[in-house]
């Protein structure tokens, strides 16, 4: 479906790659998806998506510490259909655990782009909002929403597991209402997001979109 499409009009440059590597990676642009034409089907799909949230197991920052109580016996998020998933291909929720350093941001972008839509981003803590404690740090980004579309913020330092549960339920409500279209926003404003990412990540040695 998204085979390599060289020599067409609307492709990505992949300028960060060597000529050899450019042959290996797809340079197709991501595409937005429309909701299903029948509303009942879309609602049903949204209900299924909301009740089966698979979180990518990527502890990007200190927020990961409260994910463990959340997933284990005390708070047991499995009750709400939340499960951890070790590979981005199969996950649908990316939990940004607090601050994102530049080195991690690159991996976050990679992992996020490998996730299959519809996909949702929850940002934990105050750091992704405005930098939090690290507003003046030379290695952490201040506004996370410039780099990836965020669907839901859960602020605080640390957000407690109860808040995480509340946030997950809020996300479920939003998905059921069909309001979580971060993946489409990312595609629609793709060039803006890419420009922001490239402004920060200086050694861009990966394809422009990681299929």
């Amino acid at each position: 479906m998204f085979k390599k499409s060289l020599n067409t009009e609307d492709t990505l440059e992949n300028a960060g790659l060597t000529v050899e590597e450019q042959q290996l990676f797809s340079n197709a642009r991501p595409q937005a998806y429309e909701p299903y034409p029948i509303k009942a089907v879309e609602d049903f799909a949204n209900w299924a998506r909301a009740n089966s949230l698979w979180i990518l197991a990527f502890g990007t920052g200190c927020g990961a510490i409260e994910m463990r109580p959340l997933m284990t016996a005390r708070f047991d998020a499995n009750r709400f259909g939340v499960a951890g998933r070790p590979t981005p291909r199969q996950s649908s929720v990316f939990v940004i655990g607090g601050y994102a350093s530049v080195k991690t941001l690159k991996r976050i972008v990679r992992s996020y782009e490998q996730m299959q839509g519809p996909k949702f981003v929850i940002a934990l803590g105050i750091c992704p909002v405005n930098g939090g404690m690290y507003f003046d740090s030379y290695n952490t980004v201040n506004r996370f929403d410039q780099y990836l579309p965020v669907d839901l913020y859960i602020t605080g330092c640390m957000p407690r597991p109860e808040v995480l549960v509340a946030g997950i339920m809020e996300l479920q409500k939003m998905i059921k209402a069909g309001k979580c279209n971060g993946a489409n926003r990312y595609v629609d404003n793709f060039d803006w997001y890419k420009a922001n990412q490239k402004k920060v990540i200086k050694n861009w040695d990966m394809p422009d979109y990681n299929w």
Binding site: T60, C62, R68, P69, T72, R74, Y99, S101, S137, T140
Partner: protein, 394 residues
């Protein structure tokens, strides 16, 4: 081939061979380069390992850190002393208290502040509770790394009960900001002692079950015996500290060797082991968890119930600490945690260096022990060294 068997050799020469493994020819098709992490569930925290494989065997390992680098040492240079104390606990998320204590202690030492007796005991209690919480998480992590998900659920739920105690004591679950320069922020609430004792009892009972299920388990033994053997000769040249060293029979514990806070008034012995492998280290930590419970009980018994918990302090907004230099350290869960602080008499600190034990455990030691391991054992080995990346890169 010598690099393959390096870790099995004994003798001084082998321990002192710090040479980097020879780069291999990847184009030969004989080797595979494999990245574990940072997005990988088997990695402790956010770091990555660059492994070179020959079949199932690892012939080269490089640790990559820096995914959590926030530049704390730089940030602290441009914050006043009282602002810093809210920042330091963020350095190591599983054990923030040790950062708070060491930072406060360094500042107190440089400015000559004596803290009241009750604050000393409250700090000791806080540190021991933190040790217990961290060990409980570690036991779960080690068990999970070998693929058994029953034990992590048990230990993490009990860790949560300890966090509840923290919440009563300090108002927060993770970042307490409880130990401030000059003492602590609050005393104990009503009925805390009884609830703490209840948690200790239930945790002790749970540890007995963990011992039966995880430690007396044929498969755990098959997986962890002989994995990641630390040669006792390696301890000084590699700077191995804490339970990793004590499991090799080296009786070094800062709580006993250079007592700080109220540790000289508590009854305990240094626990040592004799198995230098992953199983020995796990056993060592289980015993230290029990010791920690015992120390918490002793603290509750002997703690003064009233009295001031905060020394008289100057106006902290104008606080200038006299010029000086000090290195303070404490025994955290993984070994020697230290703060090196240089002040120049101004409102800002001149230089802080945070020394975390993972700095050597996760890089120099890990890179050496991984060589010759099976790919399946990497997660178990890494957890068994008890590494936390945030204290490496800060």
């Amino acid at each position: 081939m010598t690099s393959l068997n390096r870790h099995t050799l004994t003798g001084h020469s082998a321990a002192l061979d710090f040479s980097q493994p020879e780069p291999v020819d990847l184009s030969s098709g004989k080797y595979v380069k494999l990245w574990q992490g940072p997005q990988h569930p088997g990695i402790t925290g956010n770091m990555s390992l660059e492994l070179t494989l020959e079949g199932d065997t690892i012939i080269g390992c490089k640790t990559h850190v820096g995914y959590l680098h926030r530049g704390f040492e730089k940030l602290m240079e441009r914050r006043t002393f009282i602002q810093n104390f809210t920042v330091v606990c963020r350095i190591a998320v599983p054990e923030p208290t040790f950062n708070e204590y060491l930072y406060s202690h360094a500042v107190e030492e440089l400015s000559g502040i004596e803290i009241p007796d009750r604050a000393v005991w409250l700090r000791t209690l806080n540190l021991e509770l933190m040790r217990l919480a961290s060990f409980l998480m570690w036991i779960g992590g080690q068990s999970g790394a070998f693929g058994m998900y029953t034990v992590p659920n048990w230990t993490l739920s009990h860790r949560d009960f300890v966090l509840d105690l923290f919440e009563e004591m300090t108002g927060a679950r993770i970042y307490h900001m409880y130990i401030v320069p000059g003492g602590v922020r609050a005393g104990l609430p009503e009925g805390f002692e009884k609830r703490a004792r209840d948690v200790m009892d239930s945790t002790e009972k749970m540890l007995g079950q963990v011992e039966r299920v995880m430690f007396n388990n044929a498969v755990t033994k098959a997986r962890s015996r002989g994995l990641g053997i630390i040669d006792p000769e390696m301890i000084d040249p590699y700077g191995i500290v804490g339970p990793n060293a004590r499991a090799c029979g080296v009786a070094r514990d800062l709580r006993k060797d250079e007592p700080y806070l109220a540790y000289d008034q508590l009854d305990f012995d240094i626990i040592t082991g004799h198995d230098c492998d992953a199983y020995g280290r796990a056993w060592q930590r289980l015993q230290e968890t029990r010791q920690s419970i015992d120390l918490i009980r002793q603290c509750l018994d002997r703690m003064p119930v009233d009295g001031p918990f905060q020394a008289d302090m100057p106006n902290v907004l104008h606080w200038k600490v006299p010029a000086g230099e000090t290195y303070v350290k404490a025994e955290c869960t993984r070994g020697e945690y230290g703060y090196y602080m240089v002040t120049d008499g101004s409102e800002y600190v001149r230089r802080v260096h945070v020394r975390g034990p993972s700095y050597t455990h996760a890089i120099a030691v890990m890179e050496r022990l991984a060589v010759g391991c099976n790919i399946a054992d990497i997660a178990g080995l890494m957890v068994s060294l008890h590494t936390y990346p945030p204290e490496i890169e800060r």
